[in-house]
Symmetry: none
Subunit: 147 residues, 2 copies
DNA sequence: CGGTTTGACTTTCTTTGACTTTCGTTTTAT
DNA sequence: ATAAAACGAAAGTCAAAGAAAGTCAAACCG
């Protein structure tokens, strides 16, 4: 469906733009072969404030639409962990961090279990490298939690 | 009887879809030569929540009906993936599995993002070994989801 | 009578296009 | 040279048409 593929495109652009994007309505509509108001429809029906998006726009020559995915202060907290990790981390350290996240209601018990599975599930890596791989994974997970 | 054969068809589709399916009501009715509301009747009379089914739908252009079997049994479904993985898996394969889990409501969007983070976050592993590490992690995660 | 079948009608979501508003630029009048 | 007017290029709005699923009551078997 048209609306869905536009929404997907916008989400991808948001992703690669780190939560922000600017688009030209007419241009986009042209590329997708649809009428410009279709873009408006998708934005107003899918990227609403209730779902955590801020929309700004400017009309006239050189106008555009900006979409911003709101992020909460939670991210600052997560960032704190992100920098604390360093480039290698032991299993128990990682799980201590995860416990903090759970305690602070930043993750659910299931998500906690999932993180433990990921962090302890790297059996096929040489022992010397495990710490680095763990840190890798954990940092990526933190980033995912910030979305 | 009509209702029974529709129910049978849906059950078969559920089976081959690993417990989930998406159908277009009008299309199906057309193929079976019956009125669309007959499909609705079968779904509401046979695939009820009490019998372990989740029904979702969307109206309008491109709309559809999704049926998910949740009772019989989550772990069976997860096991299916567990064995399908093998001892090495590519990123896109892994994410395809994860998408299925998401579609089937076995994981939340956040959990999906978390899995992606784990699966794509193993940058500090020699390319040749990545597949194995990924498979490791993914299997562990599946086990975690089974509780 | 109880479960089926049907079809008319409703609701929801999508698509389109005509018309409006806003903004930057360019032209014109003083 | 400057202020006003005109123009064109966006985006906004809205209503109508279209596409699908939902509802419900009447008719129809068993």
């Amino acid at each position: 469906m048209l609306a869905d593929s536009i929404a997907k495109l916008i989400e991808e652009m948001l992703e690669s733009g780190g939560g922000q994007l600017e688009l030209k309505r007419n241009e986009m509509a042209n590329q997708l072969g649809c009428v410009p108001s279709q873009i408006s429809y998708v934005i107003t029906s899918r990227f609403t404030p209730e779902r955590g998006y801020i929309i700004e726009s400017r009309r006239g020559g050189g106008g555009c639409i900006r979409i911003i995915r709101k992020q909460m202060h939670k991210n600052e907290y997560l960032m704190h962990f992100f920098y604390a990790i360093g480039d290698s981390i032991e299993e128990n350290e990682a799980m201590a961090y995860a416990s903090n996240l759970l305690d602070g209601d930043f993750i659910t018990p299931r998500e906690f279990a999932l993180i433990r599975a990921a962090v302890t599930g790297i059996t096929s890596v040489p022992p010397a490298a495990k710490g680095m791989v763990r840190a890798d994974i954990f940092r990526h997970i933190l980033l995912a939690l910030m979305e």
